[in-house]
Amino acid sequence: MIIQALAFYLFAGILVVSALMVISARNPVHSVLFLILGFFNSAGLFILLGAEFVAMIMVIVYVGAVAVLFLFVVMMLDISFADLRKGAMQYVPVGLAIGAVLLTELVMAYGVWAFAPDALANRGAPLIRFEGATNAESLGQVLYTDYVLAFQLAGLILFVAMVGAIVLTLRTRPGVRRQNVGEQHARKREDVLEIRKVTPGTGV
């Protein structure tokens, strides 16, 4: 289908360009915005692959939540990114050298590209039971059965991440007055109000 090919090149092209812009944009906020554009286009590529569930989750999680927090942090930080970049140029030769090595290796690998003969059968084996099912159904079927261990471990990892974030950043500041709704509701008239008879001229 020509439309699909066009869409692919559109998404892929924008993805590559925006990825490039992420690292080359001068303004860090622009970098994050390009990053978001990149996420969005990769979601488009997922749709072309027929993985609509993953595409939507990509948008919801990465674009809708993760990148918002990125943007939030980048906007709030008062760092001169130009200063941070100053020393970066001196690493360019090293980076280029490593890049060149990797590129050569990739080219070499491409020259002798060969899959294991069983690879196709291996990859296909888990798919057979899901013929005709939608994305979400098939993912759900494997995620909570075959890969339940990985799923639970991912939960533990997130749990540790949460504990870690709290450990490293939560500081109890003295002198902060917080609203305690329960306390406010539990307050009774007798606790705070006292009615006294005051005779004129004496005071309380």
Partner: protein, 480 residues
């Protein structure tokens, strides 16, 4: 879903329940409960160990082949749990003294422990990665646990950034492996690799990346840069943990990975491991000479020791694997003892880390000096001590497989390494005494030091207990 059998996972499940339960206790009781939670978690490790002994270690894979329980996993888990008990025991007094008494400390150790136990039982690239990340994430936080200290924060950040990089390499390698073999399951990968007439270049490429990622985790040269800084910057009790336990888990993982699915590619990986082993031994031996800080010294020492252990992997035989397990056991117990001493190096309530600070310890505090001297002799591999036998079996395995040059390099570098181990002994016994350390060795440290020294000296009497059990455990890897 044919094998929903959770029995082999009982230790991990129990430990995570302990972790979550203690977290609830900690949150409701606050930081005053740190000590109680520390000891409860140590008790949790012990009970987990008992459960582990109770579930039976005959080989079985469960949960769609993602998790394997066999003698090797059982033995490694037992080692890990022992190391964790020691690490928690060493920490309690220290974190109170350093004013970082927060209840999350033992809880993060528990979760790191779960990650490590999963690592040695992983039978699938996904499980492997999940276990590794669970362990690493907890350790990153622990490295930065002393958050008011610049050094600790720096150590945490450094460890995190480089750790994330290595995880990236690992994942890239895994994706290549998946691409070329079509599976993430070790058994399937193994079968696929064995069916190959010629190894595809891309598969080797993937394995190289995976090995690079794992070499980072065991701090082997050339992926060792983080080790000295992190060891130095992290709170000493955390350094003790780093030195004692995660390496065992990473080695368990590495051994299962190399000997089970990728045994068919041993030609490819032996060269890499060979290089890493040699580089680690040499760098570990020479770089440590210049160190004046005992924590940095121990960091290079651990790099060197990983080199010796990798030598057993190069051998690629059941004897080699057994030697690695034995070596790790001995290394763990010695290191725990050494750190019991390092943690006690305090003057006027402040921790000191210079080797110079140990001067004349034999006169001011012989109770610390003699055990440390014995441990140092053992580390450098002087005969009757346990460390000697560890090196002996590893060299033996290398020679048996015909890697003579490797063994020679090993012997030479251990001679160099002996220099700096023995320098510590010299400083303690022949230099002018410095001020005495603060007295009062807490019971846990005393017990760990005692057990460690007892093990080091007593190993020679009945070596067979440990030798046969570790060789027995490792032989499982070669049955399939």
């Amino acid at each position: 879903m044919t094998d929903f059998n959770l029995i082999p996972l009982l230790p991990e499940i129990f430990l995570s329940l302990v972790g979550m339960g203690l977290l609830i206790v900690g949150v409701s009781q606050g930081n005053v409960s740190t000590r109680v939670i520390c000891w409860s978690s140590a008790a949790g490790f012990v009970i987990t160990g008992l459960i582990l002994l109770g579930i039976g270690w005959e080989t079985q894979t469960v949960l769609n082949g993602m998790f394997v329980m066999d003698k090797f996993a059982g033995f490694m888990k037992l080692l890990i749990l022992t190391g964790l008990v020691a690490a928690v025991g060493l920490s309690v007094r220290y974190i109170i003294q350093e004013g970082m008494e927060r209840f999350e400390y033992p809880i993060l150790i528990i979760f790191a422990g779960i990650g490590m136990m999963i690592m040695v039982s992983a039978n699938n690239l996904l499980t492997l990665y999940m276990g590794l990340e669970l362990q690493s994430l907890s350790l990153y936080v622990l490295a930065a646990f002393h958050r008011n200290s610049m050094r600790s924060s720096e150590a945490g950040i450094k460890y995190f950034v480089l750790g994330a990089l290595s995880s990236g390499m690992l994942l890239f390698g895994m994706s290549l492996i998946y691409g070329f073999t079509g599976s993430v399951d070790f058994t399937t990968i193994g079968a696929t690799v064995n069916n190959l007439s010629a190894i595809p270049f891309g598969l080797t490429f993937g394995l190289v990346f995976v090995l690079a990622g794992l070499a980072f985790k065991i701090s082997a040269v050339p992926f060792h840069m983080w080790t000295p800084d992190v060891y130095q910057g992290a709170p000493t009790s955390v350094t003790a943990l780093f030195a004692i336990v995660p390496k065992i888990a990473a080695f368990g993982l590495l051994m299962r990975l190399l000997f089970e699915p990728f045994m068919g590619m041993s030609e490819q990986w032996v060269q890499i491991i060979y290089f890493i082993a040699v580089a680690s031994m040499v760098v570990g031996a020479f770089a440590a000479i210049a160190q004046g800080n005992i924590k940095r010294l121990l960091a290079y020492s651990s790099i060197g020791n990983m080199g010796y252990a990798l030598m057993g992997l190069v051998a690629g035989t059941a004897e080699g694997a057994g030697a690695v397990v034995l070596y790790l056991t001995i290394y763990m117990i010695m290191t725990a003892g050494v750190f019991a001493v390092v943690l006690s190096m305090r003057r006027q309530g402040m921790a000191v880390y210079k080797i110079k600070d140990l001067s004349g310890l034999s006169q001011t505090n012989p109770g610390l000096a003699y055990p440390l001297a014995i441990l140092m002799f053992s580390m450098s591999g002087i005969p009757p001590a346990a460390g000697f036998f560890g090196k002996l079996v590893v060299f033996n395995a290398a020679v048996a497989s015909g890697y003579y040059i490797l063994a020679v390099i090993g012997v030479l570098s251990s001679v160099v390494a002996a220099f700096y181990y023995l320098r510590v002994v010299k400083v303690m016994f022949f230099d002018e005494p410095a001020d005495a350390f603060d007295g009062g060795l807490p019971f846990a440290r005393r017990a760990i030091l005692f057990i460690s020294v007892l093990f080091v000296l007593g190993f020679v009497i009945k070596p067979n207990i440990f030798v046969s059990s570790s060789f027995d455990a490792a032989s499982v890897l070669f049955q399939g």
